[in-house]
Symmetry: none
Subunit: 250 residues, 2 copies
DNA sequence: TAAAATTGAATGAATTTGATTGATTTTTTA
DNA sequence: TAAAAAATCAATCAAATTCATTCAATTTTA
């Protein structure tokens, strides 16, 4: 049996059952455990499924967003590292746009620059920013319940009243061809606008975001400097051809 | 049975029953107590549930700190009464401006009208509004730390994008000569603008506000209907000469 | 045909599992 | 109320399963 056919069978069985045992796949394909293991490894690298002990499991759909709560606990350590580094880029007197989202949120405790102004569309960010006695402006607009972010026409309009030294943007996918992406077109447009209003743009993307792409395009890679904790040299080299990449090491 | 499948079963049973006994999970998954215990431990670490003696429970947050906040305010009972009455004035399909502040905040739990849109400058209000599945817009602007209200040029500008069927305004003073007043001129201007953008304006003022006046003038009495719990007939008669007064009785 | 890629088997390492232990908590009983 | 009984718990261990890695055999490709 050919590799693509096996892969098709594996993914199909997975679709039907949500989780599938290694043994069932051996049964279905009539080939050895080793082969199936190799297939699962590869499919996992391609983000088509998630390996689990004893088999494989379906991973959540591309366009479906996780709740804020789930997001906030995922890759928290990596996000903190990235946040800390990103925060160190802020200089005294800067005007900053801080995108909504859990990754950019992690920057706030590490901000040390004085006399800065921060504009944000993230309601969650406000309390933390005020706690640090940072002059904070909020853009107006519609409140998206799921992410607690301000989006829509009003938000864009509100945003356009400002211009920034630097902006820090969170994304859901970074892809060599599709650039920076996020599931919601409204949010994508918001992020895009912020990038265009800024002298320098930074995208914060932990390693789980690389080689991913979701529905709505924000901007091509070269429009922002990417900050990531990815360590795979080969992968990084690929992105470095297209844009500036700052790698955070733990 | 694979780990993700067990986890799914556990979480699903939990969704249905709120709390679930260890023994039921053993029954449902046909595996040992130890395994279930380990699963529960892990799911608890992932904040997917809360372990309790004998099993697990759904985790519920927020509610409590809200009540703490509610109790910390002055004249809470009167404000609730006023809030309840004011909320009853909202009709299906209305576009509403809800001013920041504790009095207007009390309206939210009592809002029953369907298909309404609420614009607010109060950050505290957001969570409660979203909880009630109300379409919510926030004005942009500078965040005043003390009151968690959005004010300033940006806020005014943002507000002027809308027009309202009704607005509900909190004030610090109501005075027969000076009209409605509040200490901060920026906030006063915000409230004034909202009143002018609304077909009908309501000022919520518990009895402690009457015959008081503070620094910044919002509007003369006749520009808004006053909702109060004051009972002094003589006092009320005085105000009723100048404007419409709605009296809430406990 | 030779080089490269794929496959299945074999190895020991790593993970998961259920049973057991004694400690802790809850309920029952006196 | 306090002691006893029952239930539940965390910690540990050994057996079973699953895993990654290696290597030789086979198939595919150039």
């Amino acid at each position: 049996m050919l590799t693509p056919e096996r892969h098709r069978i594996i993914l199909q069985l997975l679709q039907e059952k949500e989780v599938v045992k290694l043994h069932e796949l051996v049964e279905a394909t009539q080939c050895s455990e080793s082969t199936i293991r190799r297939d699962l490894s590869q499919l996992e690298k391609e983000k088509k499924l998630k390996r689990v002990h004893g088999g494989a499991a379906l991973l959540q759909q591309k366009r479906e967003e996780l709740s804020v709560f789930e997001k906030s606990t995922k890759n928290i350590h990596e996000k903190q590292l990235i946040g800390k580094y990103a925060a160190s880029l802020i200089q005294d007197g800067d005007c900053i746009y801080l995108d909504a989202g859990t990754t950019t949120f992690q920057m706030i405790p590490y901000i040390e620059a004085k006399n800065i102004v921060v504009v944000t569309n993230g309601i969650m960010h406000i309390e933390a920013l005020l706690e640090k006695d940072i002059q904070t402006y909020l853009v107006g607009g519609f409140i998206k319940k799921k992410t607690n972010a301000l989006i829509g026409r009003g938000a864009i309009h509100s945003l356009q009243q400002y211009s920034f030294d630097k902006c820090f943007i969170g994304v859901n996918g970074v892809h060599i061809d599709f650039g920076y992406t996020t599931p919601d077109p409204e949010e994508a447009f918001m992020k895009q606008t912020a990038i265009h209003l800024s002298q320098r743009a930074f995208v914060l993307a932990d390693h789980s975001k690389l080689n991913e792409s979701t529905f709505a395009k924000i901007a091509p890679l070269q429009e922002a400097t990417m900050i990531t904790d990815e360590t795979d040299e080969e992968l990084l080299a690929m992105y470095e051809e297209k844009t500036t990449v700052e790698v955070v090491k733990s």
